[in-house]
């Protein structure tokens, strides 16, 4: 089931969304997938998945290898800790956590990248977090459907 989620995320993130959403507003679906997995499938495999997704993200961005991977790994562990105390089912919580997860990944990526190149922070952070937040309920709904289908 995880393979389906990962494949869907990759296709949407790297092939579909860049074609239909303007630059700067593309949501971070990898962060949303990590958020979802951290909440519902907390595991060692999840950490590794976060790492490899991040590497793939870095490779597709063509800048440095590691910043996104570091961001996703840290986001995963952070959310996994929080998932013991919080719920993701409600629309509002999925909006908030979607934006939050994307924000964490963006911030860590920025912190690492900014050691080497000068980059803007606030506006891209807000753009990416907002678009991720708006996309989170839709993506989580699709993930839930896929999960139920596999369970059924």
């Amino acid at each position: 089931m995880k393979a389906e989620l990962v494949l869907l995320t990759l296709v949407l993130q790297f092939a579909v969304l860049p074609l239909i959403i303007p630059d700067g507003y593309i949501p971070n679906l990898s962060a949303l997938l990590i958020l979802y997995l951290a909440f519902y499938h907390t595991s060692i495999l999840g950490v590794w998945l976060a790492f490899f997704l991040g590497l793939l993200f870095d490779l597709s961005a063509g800048s440095l290898l590691g910043p996104s991977a570091a961001g996703l790994v840290l986001a995963y562990i952070f959310i996994a800790v929080l998932s013991k105390r919080l719920f993701l089912d409600a629309l509002v919580s999925s909006l908030i956590f979607g934006g939050f997860a994307s924000g964490i990944v963006f911030t860590i990526r920025y912190l690492l990248l900014s050691q080497f190149v000068s980059l803007p922070f606030w506006i891209p952070l807000i753009q990416e977090s907002l678009s991720s937040a708006l996309f989170a309920p839709i993506l989580f709904w699709i993930f839930s459907k896929l999960r139920r289908k596999n369970v059924g």
């Binding site: 499938h41 490779l59 290898l65 050691q115």
Partner: protein, 279 residues
């Protein structure tokens, strides 16, 4: 949603995460010093992504193309409707301008006739025919306010006799046509100088009366006004002889005249207002 029941200890996950984070830091540092590494990786990822992107791009462009064509067809239909209505307007305008052109041509002939002769008058547009079938007359849109008086002769643009005014109001006048039975014009044959009285017979045919038997008349002889009746000026063309017969039992010949004027196509007439001065 329920969480997985077989979740490992968070400490183990944390340990993995910490290790991977350190790996990430190392990779970041390493790739900053060796950009070739990321270049090769990027190309591989791009090679993997590009076929999927191509499929999506082609599909979306086809869908977009379908809607573009639909929009183009819809726009073309709207444009076609607009052009058709524009064409109808322009055709109407064109017909109106052609009408003006024809009218201008006819009025120019009237002007030319007036300038070449000493006659003065006013051009009247025919606005109606007599309602009674047995009276050949037309109504024109000029009347006493324009100087028209009863008895004024009317001619066409070539100066051929049309008839005379038999009734006039302030804004219109009734012209009795040459072809009416009540019409009578003193005429003569232009070459032979034989005179007679022309009266109407039917549409586009008149009868020349009181032509003596011994006078020579041939078909095609031109007929003009003599000026003796005090109504029509002298030498206005009237028509041509179309039939001539000598009946030994009678005192006069039977002569039929075809007028120059085609009364069915008549649209304007010149009412001559200075007949007395000319005569």
């Amino acid at each position: 949603m329920k969480r997985s029941q077989t979740e490992p200890s968070i400490r183990v996950i944390f340990a993995h995460a910490a290790a991977l984070f350190l790996v990430c830091l190392f990779l970041t540092s390493y790739s900053s010093k060796n950009p070739k590494v990321i270049g090769i990786g990027s190309r591989i990822v791009q090679e993997l992504i590009s076929p999927v992107q191509e499929v999506i791009t082609v599909t979306s462009s086809r869908i977009g193309g379908f809607f573009d064509e639909y929009r183009a067809l819809r726009d073309a239909k709207e444009r076609n409707d607009q052009l058709l209505s524009r064409l109808a307007v322009l055709e109407m305008e064109n017909a109106r301008l052609r009408e003006f052109e024809n009218e201008n041509s006819r009025l120019s002939k009237f002007l030319s006739f007036k300038q070449s002769s000493k006659l003065q008058g006013i051009v009247g547009r025919i606005i109606g025919n007599d309602a009674a079938n047995w009276v050949h007359s037309v109504v024109v849109n000029v009347g006493t306010n324009d100087g028209v008086a009863i008895g004024n002769p009317a001619v066409d643009s070539a100066g051929s006799v049309v008839g005379r005014v038999v009734a006039a109001s302030s804004g219109s006048a009734q012209v009795l046509l040459l072809t009416d039975r009540a019409s009578s014009v003193d005429v003569m044959l232009q070459e032979r100088r034989t005179s007679g009285i022309l009266s109407g017979r039917q549409l586009n045919e008149c009868e020349l009366n009181f032509v003596e038997l011994e006078k020579e008349i041939q078909i095609g002889d031109r007929v003009i006004t003599s000026g003796l009746d005090g109504i029509y000026p002298k030498s206005l063309p009237v028509g041509v002889v179309s039939f001539a017969e000598k009946d030994s039992r009678g005192l006069f010949q039977k002569v039929l005249i075809t007028p120059h004027v085609d009364f069915r196509k008549l649209e304007e007439v010149l009412i001559i207002t200075n007949v007395e001065k000319v005569q």
